[in-house]
Symmetry: C2
Subunit: 410 residues, 2 copies
């Protein structure tokens, strides 16, 4: 499928620095795509710690199950990621494929199988030969480069229309560290493209449990705060590897103030990556920020935000550039969280539309209509109940989404 690049794509691929201890190689294994790479391998120096957040789907893929076990060890030496086939719902054949891939990668990296992490993204339910990737790995030995970010980001794409990456630096004590990552996804969750994968690397030295805590918190604010279609992938995987090569003192406590700037940088990288996925949402023409304030709690605010962001009626109205705030009222009402009609305030593009249980007196839709014609749509919902707040991001629901998903397998 040759899709046009999303109108919401950034101007270009960012300049990413080398992360000492991280090298990439890519190649084509002929899994599904022709004329482009479909395999990305990252090799990590000895001593690298790892954290991960995986899909909660009860029909998770074989690679997800493998990673879940590996994360218990907290050490990573290789990541092997393919696009074109998610290896989900492939039974014992799927497990055999994972095992063959892991063994070949462990031989390549000179590590234990438990230090190899795998992720697959693509069609569900189609078994691959066990050696579909494994037979290509020995040949990659001389191909690893520290600066192959863009090739790596491109090799993991499915229906993505542009490669995605982000970078920040931070200070830990007196040491500057870098956090950089790539991701793919063109639905938060578009299981057949299955789906959202993210790989973030840092040269900071952080113990695995602290890394896990920081990653989990960052995921809540980023990948778990975006939605394209509300579907949940069988493959969603985010891995964060820390090589420790920057030379800072190893950080073992995620809540230590010394890690605060690192966590700020990690949050920013993760949020930027998550936004890039929304900007590449299938058929997207608008980037939508939904801010919820004054909810009973932060989780309540997030659920209300997602109810709005997932509503097909809200999303089609945005596609139609219609400031149909009644649908936002509806979505708040269905979220199941505490809300009070007479305290609810809704603003679009900074213009207050309703308050005190009804449209504000003298409401003039002109500036709101102008805002709806732009590419960046801002919705603010104030509940007036408590101090809970959250931001979630989504895109509009357009004919493009239906075109892409009506015939994905063909």
């Amino acid at each position: 499928m040759a899709l046009p690049v999303s109108p919401l794509a950034p101007a270009g691929f960012p300049a990413l620095p080398v992360i000492p201890g991280v090298r990439f190689a890519t190649t084509n294994c002929g899994i599904r795509y022709k004329g482009r790479d479909d395999l990305m391998v990252a090799l990590l120096d000895p001593g690298t710690t790892v954290a991960g957040v995986l899909t909660r789907s009860l029909t998770a893929s074989a690679p997800v199950h493998w990673c879940r076990n590996g994360l218990a060890g907290g050490r990573a030496r290789a990541m092997v990621v393919n696009s074109g086939n998610s290896n989900a719902f492939t039974g014992r054949a799927g497990e055999a494929f994972v095992r063959a891939t892991v063994d070949a990668a462990a031989a390549l990296a000179g590590c234990a199988p438990e230090e190899v992490f795998v992720a697959s993204t693509g069609v569900i339910g189609q078994p691959m030969p066990p050696d579909a990737i494994a037979r290509h790995l020995p040949g990659l030995a001389g191909a690893f480069r520290e600066d192959a970010w863009e090739a790596a980001a491109r090799a993991i794409m499915t229906t993505d229309t542009f490669p995605k990456a982000a970078v920040r630096t931070a200070r830990i004590g007196g040491t500057t560290v870098t956090v950089a990552g790539i991701c793919k996804g063109s639905g938060m969750i578009a299981p057949d493209m299955a789906t959202m994968l993210g790989f973030v690397f840092t040269d900071a030295a952080v113990a695995a449990p602290a890394l896990q805590q920081a990653l989990a918190a960052a995921t809540g604010k980023s990948f778990n705060a975006i939605t394209v279609d509300g579907d949940t992938s069988t493959s969603d995987t985010v891995l964060l590897a820390a090589t420790g090569r920057a030379g800072n003192a190893v950080q073992a406590d995620a809540d230590d103030p010394a890690l605060a700037d690192f966590r700020r940088a990690l949050d920013e990288v993760m949020i930027e990556l998550a936004h890039l996925i929304v900007r590449d949402g299938e058929g997207a023409t608008k980037f939508v920020t939904v801010r919820v304030d004054g909810a009973a709690s932060d989780p309540a605010a997030r659920r209300i935000g997602l109810a709005i962001a997932n509503s097909p009626l809200v999303k089609t109205a945005i596609a139609g550039e219609d400031a149909n705030w009644g649908r936002i009222v509806m979505a708040v009402g269905k979220a199941g969280e505490e809300a009070d009609r007479d305290r609810l305030r809704i603003s679009i593009g900074g213009v207050l539309i309703c308050a005190d249980g009804m449209q504000v007196p003298g409401y003039d839709e002109t500036p709101v209509t102008a805002h709806m014609k732009g590419q960046e749509i801002d919705i603010l919902v104030e509940l007036g109940i408590g101090a809970g707040r959250a931001s979630v991001w989504t895109c509009d629901l357009t004919h493009g989404y239906i075109d892409i998903n009506g015939s994905y397998r063909s």
Copy 2:
């Protein structure tokens, strides 16, 4: 909006018999639509009992709040229903409108205000003058007819492309009773069209608590088992009125075997009405039945069924006539209910596609592809966990849905 009649519409409006004690009148109040009626009033003989099921939305409309209070009394003499404006999120103006409407209808029917039930369907957030309906009610006094079913069904339509009705007869003791109803809806829930309304009438004599129990059970199997877009209306209302004119002994116990045939008829009418809403789903080209069997419980089966029926990826694949069963696996996985990859079996059009954790050996997609080209799509998901089962119904997600909802207010 002049939408073409849904390709899934039945051949014509059914022949409905008179329900003794029920009379209808319709007119145009100029609320939104021109050239068609937008008000339906049903008058009910003294002694009529009533039951109702109302939206659980936390931003429910003023009419919903009124009905909730009235149902406590269990008696109905009038129903007043308008299309074009849902009177939701209209604050005190909405409450004043309800009160004026109820008072005028009570004068017309010669009853207490608490015996008047109101429902409104249409755009959210636009206040109406208090007398928008009330001033038309006195003039209707001579217009009531027992046989005006089709006019009644048409007056409550919004984006519906055809009027909807169903009828069954049943025996209570030695007496034949009739259950007949009309409904509107073109999304389970399409709040701006806001949304699903149903009015069912019977000449059976049934006490209000038993009527309520029967209606709640029937709603679970019918209107609460369909979905077009997963959105929840601020106005959903189903009312069931029993005039008692058939002359059977009053039934006070919903679980009495004497009521079993009546409840069967009620279930069938409600399910047929619910199916008609799916068949008029916005942009629908396929009627989809999702049966779930072998779940941990009936509610678990229903939640899994709705996760499938609400998935934009499943619905777009059906629109594209693509037998993309991997998306059904995904939807089962995200439902949050107990599932086991290796026991899950998925069939489409009666053809078993996957079992034992993978595609069945020698799977031939030819008959499934042929089934996908039809208008009636059958999906069977067997969990192999327990005895829980449910059927839910939905339609496909097409360009038509986006066309209709991208510009509803304009």
